[in-house]
Amino acid sequence: MAGSENLTPEQIAFLKKKKAKAAARRGKPEEEAKLGMTSLMDIVSIIVVYLLKSYASDPVVINPTAGQKIPMSAADASLTEGMPLFVAPSGITFNDKKLVTLTPDGDIDPAMVENHLIGPLYDAMAEEVDKAKQMAENQNREWEGRLILVGDQRLKFSALVDIMYTAGRAEFTQYAFCVIRRNG
């Protein structure tokens, strides 16, 4: 214990205390560490309730397709129920099916358009409209015919008009442009 000669009285006292504590610990059985679950449960429950609330408050959940940039707007009207139609630079998706491809210039594939009518899109829309109408009839309510157009910032006006024309032919009567709310 040659080293202990150089220690200060405070350090010697600290070592003594440490030794005494270790000796006391040896005599006792080891304590089991317990995790306080109540506070954790509280936090997790609050988060789950908050997330459930925010999920339930949106009648339509919009999940943009890859590469799609939804236009920004100062509009504040909330989205109401309707059939979403996704128009990304790569193509048009309706009912989870990519139906139409867009050229690199942003035009609708010319083989799929005839006099502003987009053939594959019209067929899919007409089928879906029939189903929705029948469902509304069974539930004794009026079919609203609302289309939510989830477009892209770069979408050309000519393509937009063709899509709206096709939707009109498929008996959609109300249109809404889905936008991202600009803050401020």
């Binding site: 008009v161 249109y175 889905c178």
Partner: protein, 192 residues
């Protein structure tokens, strides 16, 4: 003996919270994935044939001449016309396709640069027309083929008024606020 039994009965039974916690922790990422990150809104657009009902047209004729505001978005600016007369057209002409009513704010900017249009001037023009026709809320919007959707949407914002908060008003059926000008856009194809 009776005391011992009572003590045993009173011994605390701890609930096993681990399965509940497992479910809760799984619910969090599932709900986070389903949640929308950006706040979505909608702009209600009318197709031309649903713009105004026959009855409305009749009453409009009796009360006042309709404004019939039209905005045509061109690559070099906006062409604004009201009651069939383009603003800024040559004398005696109803339209002058060579000159826009509102030129670009930044003419050197690319077509993909959405700030090239003078939205502030368009909003000022909408405010001017609104003061003359306070009951009019519709505007017909058309554009050249290459105009991007963001420009169309931003133009709709300018025509409605950038400070216009119409969402709650539409729901409750109240009168729209004074800072809302032409908030019911009608999209028209190729109308100049």
């Amino acid at each position: 003996m009776a005391r011992k039994k009572k003590k045993e009965e009173e011994a605390e039974v701890e609930a096993n919270l681990l399965p509940v916690m497992n479910i809760m922790f799984l619910l969090i990422p599932a709900l986070l994935l389903a949640m929308e990150i950006a706040a979505m809104a909608s702009i209600n657009v009318s197709p031309p044939k649903f713009a105004a009902s026959a009855n409305q047209k009749k009453t409009d004729k009796k009360e006042e001449k309709p404004l019939d505001l039209k905005v045509f978005i061109m690559e070099d600016g906006y062409r604004v016309s009201a009651s069939g007369q383009q603003e800024g057209a040559d004398a005696g002409k109803s339209a002058d396709s060579n000159r826009p009513t509102i030129p670009l704010a930044n003419s050197s900017a690319d077509l993909e640069d959405y700030t090239r249009y003078d939205y502030a001037a368009l909003e000022a023009k909408a405010k001017e027309y609104k003061s003359l026709f306070p009951n009019d809320v519709t505007v017909k919007i058309s554009a050249e083929a290459n105009i991007p959707m963001q420009v169309v949407v931003s133009s709709m914002d300018a025509l409605a008024g950038t400070t216009c908060k119409i969402g709650k008003t539409i729901k409750s059926g109240e009168q729209p606020p004074d800072d809302c000008y032409f908030w019911q856009p009608i999209v028209e194809a190729g109308a100049g």
